[in-house]
Homo-oligomer: 206 residues x 2
Amino acid sequence: MEIPEKRAGRPRAFNADTVLEAAMLLFWEHGYEATSLAMLRDAMGLTPPQIYNAFTDKETLFRKALERYHQTEVSFALAALNAEVSTREAIALLLTGAATSYTRPDKPGGCLFISGALAASPQAQQVADTLKGYRQRSETAIAARLAKGQADGDLSMQISVPTLARYIRSVMHGMSVQAREGATSLELGQLAELALLAMPENSSGG
Amino acid sequence: MEIPEKRAGRPRAFNADTVLEAAMLLFWEHGYEATSLAMLRDAMGLTPPQIYNAFTDKETLFRKALERYHQTEVSFALAALNAEVSTREAIALLLTGAATSYTRPDKPGGCLFISGALAASPQAQQVADTLKGYRQRSETAIAARLAKGQADGDLSMQISVPTLARYIRSVMHGMSVQAREGATSLELGQLAELALLAMPENSSGG
DNA sequence: CGCGTTACATATCAATCGTTATGTTATGAT
DNA sequence: ATCATAACATAACGATTGATATGTAACGCG
């Protein structure tokens, strides 16, 4: 996919993936606005012109970090929703995946899509809206999986798909907040198990 | 309690409660760090020296705003936990209260204790820790109410109080995130109702 | 080799950040 | 009236913010 096409001119003195990973971790830890360029400079091991030449500006760098996060850190979510298991098991995979992903010892706690900018200054509203989009798309994906479950006779027709989807997302967001406070994967796993009690057992009846 | 003792010197040209309310609303909307003094100055209708004379500095102003928020906006929580109803009903009151409190049309969405600083710069870690303290105390209060329920034979002894308390807090935090995205009180109320399904019905058995 | 291109390092930009010095004005007490 | 006190308004502080201008070094290509 990514062909490292040989270009004229002096080659980069750094690996773009490596420094983007460092930037992502820093944004994940401190959020978009609270992460200063000086912090990024230190963490990435680059000078400001290097950062700006490679990533345009801070906002673009952040959006690249979001893409990377989406691909490398929360791929478990799509995998869970696409797994060929029952609807209930798919949601269980999703929640336990979140419990794991949000509490990796070598990574910041919680989810970048929440920590990145829950509140923001007026200047950063566009960035906050982008994060909101990521979060809402995940709810849409959950709702789609639930609807499929109903179509397959895998999930009770009595249940309101939008409400259940919203609930599941809400639990994940709550887990993210707690993960930031140092909750362990075990604790979040128990939380996920409890949250699943609100979801009815398999019942093909309508 | 608050005696407006007559002091010597020129009197204040503003009402401290009024301007603190304005500051609280601004912090609630944009969070601690993303709220600049220029924004506060405009919203409070004061000059910087007026703000600093009355509230010491930005951090102290924020802490005063937190106290005010705690007293005026989330008193529903303690009221719910102290209400003379069943444990299950108390939690129901708590969650529906959150649904209402987080979606007031004339107030920012969500909870200040989360929006204030979920992520923070290294310089603002103390503030972030204060918010963490507010959140964790609310979990402690929930856990205490659940333990009382078990002692009264009102809640199954099978249940893990810490886990259930963590779960309830997690739902509230998830509701807060969604409220920031424009979820209505009706939607959050449905979410609360669904979340309660994870809590066992009244059963005095152990 | 020399040319075009691109990234490099050093230094610095204007704007905004939270905060404060300075002098004036309005009060209560003597 | 005068004095101590405290808040007022104007102006500006040093530090940090995100972002660049400038000149140099390293590559592919002819």
